[in-house]
Amino acid sequence: MTTEAPPKGELRPIVPYLALGNTRDEDYLFGSRCTNCGTLYVGPRLFCGKCSGEGPFETVRFSKEGEVYVWSIIHQSVPWVKVPYIAAVIDLPEGVSVNANIEGIEPKPENLKFGMKVKMFTEVVSQDADGNQYVGYKFRPA
């Protein structure tokens, strides 16, 4: 008879460009800058799609503040997603854009403005059959 507890699931980022800290407050998004041409990408890169260079790439930590570039309100989705919700493209001050959900406001067109200031937060968004939990990032009005 074993006294060992069953292996506990890990906490994992749901995208490769989200770095997890010890608490959710310490999580951050990051990217890679091509040192050849200066292009900044979201997430890790091996090669540069703009200059065809092989780097090296320097890691850039993104700030949590952003601005809504464009948005849509999604009313039809995959079974595990509650609709309606707000999907958006968020411009970050470092000069890149990310896709994200916006929470904290009713998903209605009149509540959204191009260029509105938003702030990133993270939380567990799903769990797999092995007990691993996945952390996602979202934005809410700043």
């Binding site: 464009v70 849509s72 995959v78 997603v81 493209v89 959900n101 799903s126």
Partner: protein
């Protein structure tokens, strides 16, 4: 490179064929195109088959249905531009002098599949958790970008649905032939703002085919060879947000520029355009991308009546369109847009779409388009775009 003509085309009525195999649909279209061309299967030297779901073997399966002559088969998958890319490969095969007569077939069987490209694994999927990557969201946000730049409204986008659904009532091969006035489009449920259900193309099954021949030999088969004046394929160049929000504009603009140069014409010379209106938002964006109007003028352009059959908004829709009319706006082209009903109403069985667009233009250039005939059509342009990202433009002339 030598001149290439289209000497035969066909498409089956788009819709749902749950009791048919996709290669049966494609074989029907292929045989009809050969009949239209007066060409026998044994004269065909190569087959270019576009099918997105059956990435391998789609063409061989068609030949197993209708003509196992042992010719080379090339199977093409290139997102929504699959059929038009197969057609372009067929064009190059003849233009290069390698073959005199080839067949291009596009086919797809989508069944009742709902959201295109929906992922399977709920736990690790980012869909709906990190924004949305499905087509309705992508084209919704592409429309929102236009709204942000120019103040375009949901109603103005919706006019594309009113127009194309009206056009489709004159096309017996369209999947839907039902008019949708503006209030009906606006009151249908939202799929991804600003696109409502009637502003999204349906899924479906379909097939279309074209017989291509060197211009020098074309007159042996037809008195009306249709010249392929331009054939262009582009992919998305690096632009700032492309990897986050697919940029459907830049590669279309690049393709249009190359196509007009190759054909030696401009948008003002076009009588007809079949463009990729997978969503109503896309239609307005592509007016500007294809140079049918100036920057930010898309909403004025559709309200002017220019892209409607007869270059005029039909009387029954004048009231719907009136609030958006700018009397000072002068359209620079009389090109009628999506007179087939477009993807919005003719349907969009992925691999079939690009070849069906070609067939539509050929029918107009030959004067065989029936009730929806664009009077005196001499030059037409067919545009297709698929995400991640491929854009084709073909310019056809009689």
């Amino acid at each position: 490179m030598r001149e290439v003509a289209i000497i035969g085309v066909s498409m089956i009525k788009f819709g749902r064929y749950p009791d048919r195999k996709v290669e049966e649909l494609a074989a029907r279209a292929a045989l009809d195109a050969l009949k239209d061309a007066g060409v026998e299967m044994k004269q065909v030297q190569a087959l270019y088959s576009g099918n997105l779901y059956q990435t391998s073997g789609s063409g061989q399966r068609i030949l197993q249905q209708m003509g196992q002559t042992g010719i080379p088969v090339v199977n093409v998958a290139n997102a929504c531009a699959t059929g038009s890319t197969a057609f372009r490969e067929a064009y190059f095969a003849v233009a290069s002098g390698a073959y005199d007569i080839v067949l291009a077939v596009g086919s797809e069987q989508m069944g009742k599949q709902g959201l295109l490209g929906a992922p399977r694994d709920p736990a690790t999927s980012i869909e709906g958790r990190i924004g949305s990557y499905l087509m309705p969201a992508v084209f919704g946000m592409a429309g929102m970008e236009h709204m942000r730049k120019y103040g375009t409204t949901q109603e103005q986008f919706a006019l594309a649905s009113v127009k194309n659904h009206w056009h489709s009532t004159m096309n017996p091969l369209a999947q839907y032939q039902k008019e949708t006035p503006l209030d009906e489009v606006m009151n249908s449920r939202v799929v991804a703002y600003p696109n409502t259900l009637l502003m999204c193309c349906p899924t479906g099954d379909g097939a279309a085919a074209a017989v291509l021949c060197s211009m020098e030999k074309a007159r042996q088969f037809t008195t009306q060879p249709i010249k392929i004046a331009a054939s262009v394929l582009t992919s998305d160049p690096y632009t700032d947000r492309d990897l986050t929000l697919p940029d459907i504009n830049t590669l279309t603009r690049n393709a249009a520029k190359q196509a007009y140069e190759m054909a030696g014409i401009g948008p003002e010379d076009l009588d007809q355009v079949e463009l990729h209106d997978c969503f109503a938002t896309a239609e307005l964006l592509h007016y500007e991308n294809l140079g049918l109007c100036g920057e930010g003028e898309a909403a004025k352009h559709i309200a002017s009546g220019a892209p409607w059959l007869g270059n005029k908004v039909p009387t029954k829709y004048e009231e719907d369109v009136a609030p958006f009319v700018d009397k000072t706006y002068q359209p620079k082209t009389k090109a009628v847009v999506n007179v087939s009903g477009g993807l919005l109403s003719k349907g969009h069985p992925l691999g079939a779409t690009g070849v069906a667009n070609i067939a539509e233009i050929v029918w107009h250039l030959r004067g065989q388009a029936g009730a929806r005939q664009v009077e005196g059509a001499k030059v037409g342009l067919a545009h297709v775009i698929g995400l991640c990202s491929a854009c084709t433009i073909h310019i056809l002339q009689r």
